[in-house]
Amino acid sequence: MTAQPSISKGKFRTYFFYKLSKLRGKLVAACILSLFSYPMMALAVNILYDGLMKRHTDSGNIPNADLDMQVGMMNATAMLCMAAGIVCIAVLFIEGFFVVKSSFRSLYDKKYIDMDLSLPVSDNTRFAADILSGSLIYVVPQIAAVVIGRLVLIHSYGFSEESFYSDYTGIMEFIETGSIFMVCGSVMQFFFTLMIMSFCGRKLTANIVPILFGVGVPVTIIFLAMIVNSCAYGIEIGNIYGYFSDSFILQCSPLGMCLSVFFISQQRISELAAFPIELVTLLYSAAFCAASWFMIKRRRAERTGSAFVYKGGRYAVQFMILLASASVIFLPVFDRVNARRSYYAVSGSLVKYLEIPAAALVITWVIVNIILFVVTELVCREKLGSPKKLAFMAARFIGSGVLSVLICYGLSVSDGLGTVGYVPEVSQIEGVQLMDNMPRMVYGYNDHYVSDEESLRLITDFHRRIIEERPDFKWVYDDSYADEYRSYVHFSLDYRMKNGSRTERSYFLPKEYAHDAISLLFSTRAFADNYKLETDDKDALVMVPGNDGVYYASEIPYNEFAAALYKDALETTYEDICVDGGQMYKTLEIIYSNDNRQYVIVSNTFTDTVELMNRYNCNIFDGVYDDAVKFYMMQYTSEGSFTADIKYDYTADENGYMMPTLNYDIREITAEQANELLPHTATTPVYEESRDIYEVFCVYEYKNGDGSVYYVTNNYTGPRFVAEKQCDRAAEIYNAAEPAGSEDIQKYLPEYYRYREG
């Protein structure tokens, strides 16, 4: 008769307390580290707060230098506490490995086999007691530290206003919620290490392999994900955040889980996460625990002393090394193949810039891996002198190597594992954020959020069209970034799904798509929604700019203005507002009853709005240029200045007024010439390599109350760039005009716009 192994209560208690006593040292370490972790960080927040309070209360009472020194000391102390806290948390995380090593010493240390396994304790009892004692001494101090940390924070809430802490919300969030994840992460670290260690049979492998897998698995996954991204049209290679951040695959190891949480926190989508991350961590821990139990139960004690008690362990290590290095090496190799399919071929570019040939990378990979392969064989005490074993090793190396490359290649040609063709269903979408780099007809609005069903349908249809027509795109590949930038239109879709996840796609489309992409903004409510003002504030004031650039309060009824503006925005088409249309724009300011301010850009094509404003004598588009005293033209030819000053952004002052920095040629023109060109100008140019850009620049003269003169330029109404169809005429006028040095217009410019070297 065979006795059934089970967890005998009495033996369990005995063995459990025995193991607890053996882990005393680790318990003390865990307690000290825990005490200096979250409580220390909470203390740091309090010290920072005290510093803030001190600056508030003692300002004026003691000399500034003394105050600065005292607050500086407090801040330095807080930083030290913070650093100590972070270091302790990191060490605590690593301690999990050492706790497992101590708890399960008979897995890898032959001398304890006889001592531990001959005891009258069943395998199940031993496993359960080892797990419980190890995890208890490791996790309980951390839980206590979380509680203490929170108590320290609660204490500080009691005597302070929460708003004081706004600068430290990140740290507070970490102590309050991140700490819970860290505790769960520690549990995961414990079980992950145990699972890997259950394969190992020697101290050397038990020390190295869990670390190797702990680091190697997430690194491999990230690099494989980057290979997937590199070939996935629409997914940027650098966008590991969006694509893999909340992937269960990345989260399958403790470090991967931490990286995943870091990526999610970078995206600030933790509140949208479809699955509570702590639960995922614990589920993984449970799975690792079950796998460990299975492996330990099946393990043969007599193999302790070999590098791996399961032969698969060695093969897994060798394969992981090959795959990890292949993913790193072949990313730039395959990335170059796919470079045109995804824009941000970062790594490909790196290899290109470093001028490393793909063949050199592959040869390096093969040589390094042969060495590593042989080292692992020697660690496993394989007799490589035997021709049979040598041949077997060579066959395994070739097989594993080919498999690794095939995996990388397979991922590389998989169209991002099918994600290239994926367009979310309208019913699953909460809303979508659209972003583009298309020429701004109205500067400021380049990102739009829509959530109505009709708009979502139009957007997903356009998305599908991009995917379907992609094979027909005529790509023009230029080596330089600037050229490439000009050849494409960047269009991003950021779907916020109802289940809390995000689906991001970022396309570089041929320039011909610009029109359709912009039209999409007008056929949906994407553009109009930018003009949706708050309507529940009847007392809001509509402030109108005068020709002198100063805002005056108008009598326009706010609600009527808001309604007219939205109606005009809804009716606006791409043609109404396109860059070559010669439209004029003015920025109006809305001041709400609560003193909040909002700026809206109004076009002269907004018929209802213009009519409403005219009714209240706010003829903002009339006589803009009548009072000008001087007229100039500027020619932009330098790619550098154009790119720096206009394409990427204007130099703007605090009021949002734009002024290109002075790196262009200026010529003075006549009033007649200016008036000929001005109706064919728009606020934003489209840069074409084939032509130059011309801007018409007007100067107005006003008198102050004391009779002194001051000047205002038409930059207050937005710079006026000549439309493409009038460029030849503009060039004619410009070439006939007299050159004017930049110093000629200096006196017309406000102080802060005047020319500065560099």
């Binding site: 008769m1 065979t2 006795a3 192994p5 005998s8 033996k11 005995t14 063995y15 307390f17 025995y18 001398k111 304890y112 086999i113 006889d114 001592m115 396994l117 001959s118 005891l119 009258p120 304790v121 069943s122 395998d123 009892t125 043969r300 004690a301 007599e302 193999r303 070999s306």
Partner: protein, 299 residues
């Protein structure tokens, strides 16, 4: 009662124990002999439930030993290593074993410690090799197991200590009919101590018999013949070794005194003498037959 039946244990490609079957009656002291790597320690570990046999069975009192708490409470295994106890004091070892063995006898422990004068508060790494062995044996005896397995446990003890430890073991055997399985390379020790022996070679059992039977079965003859004698001249007798020095021929044969003297008598020796062999000599000659001898050194 210990029953080992067709037991097999393999370390990857090497078969350490190959179809071993041995029965050890209760209350006996069983000596395991064998060359290095014969499988003695592996067999003892299987008896202790440390190793699980690949096939066959290891049963004590009718129950499988592996992962059987009830049976393991009845046995104690003293391995050839003591390094695992290095960071423990003898006092800590006492606590350790007391936790797991309900039968642990404090009075006996104290009495034995007093006899050998071991300090309770010193860590074992400060002990000499012999003292460490004493400490482990004392713990094993104090646990009052029904079965005690010792793997080369007396190696490294000085003769006095050896006698003291043996006495402790004998007392325990006498006291409560403890069964001891004992492996050692010191055959004199087994000779003095065991009532039954088993010889293992390359994982297989060469013989498994009462010690008296073994010793009575293998006989050394010294005789003078008028011609050279070969094993073929002694039909029905298993000749382990023959050697001629001058006119004297030495024959080591298995088969019992009576049968051997009758067979030799038929060859009309001029002089005949029968010498009883020690266990060590039997071991050497038995191993020689199996090809395990020191003659390799002469080549």
């Amino acid at each position: 009662m210990i029953e080992i039946k067709d037991c097999v244990m393999r370390f990857y490609d090497v078969e350490a124990v190959s179809g071993v079957s041995i029965d050890i009656p209760e209350g006996s002291c069983y000596g395991l002999l064998g060359s290095n790597g014969a499988g003695k320690s592996t067999l003892l570990r299987m008896l202790s439930g440390v190793y699980r046999p690949l096939s066959g069975s290891v049963k004590i009192d009718g129950e499988t030993v592996y992962d059987n708490v009830k049976i393991k409470e009845k046995l104690f295994f003293i391995s050839d290593e003591t390094v695992q106890f290095s960071d423990m004091t003898l006092g800590a070892m006492r606590k350790y074993y007391k936790m797991f063995y309900k039968s642990f006898d404090d009075a006996l422990f104290e009495r034995l410690v007093k006899i050998v004068e071991l300090p309770l508060d010193k860590k074992l790494h400060e002990f000499s090799k012999g003292m460490k062995r004493q400490a482990v044996v004392i713990c094993g005896i104090a646990c009052r197991p029904k079965y005690l397995f010792l793997d080369e446990a007396l190696d490294g003890l000085d003769p006095t200590m050896r006698i003291m430890v043996k006495k402790m073991l004998i007392d325990a055997m006498m006291d409560r009919e403890m069964t001891i399985v004992f492996s050692s390379h010191n055959l004199n020790e087994i000779d003095e101590f065991c009532d039954r022996v088993g010889l293992l070679h390359n994982g297989k059992v060469v013989f498994d018999r009462d010690l008296d039977n073994v010793k009575g079965d293998v006989i050394k003859i010294q005789a003078v013949f008028d011609r050279d004698i070969t094993p073929e001249d002694l039909p029905g007798i298993e000749v382990l070794h023959t050697e001629k020095t001058g006119s004297v021929t030495y024959i080591i044969a298995r088969g019992g005194s009576e049968k051997i003297s009758e067979a030799v008598g038929k060859l009309s020796p001029k002089m005949y003498d029968e010498i009883r062999l020690t266990l060590e000599e039997i071991f050497i000659y038995e191993m020689e037959v199996l090809g395990y001898d020191s003659s390799a050194l002469d080549k």
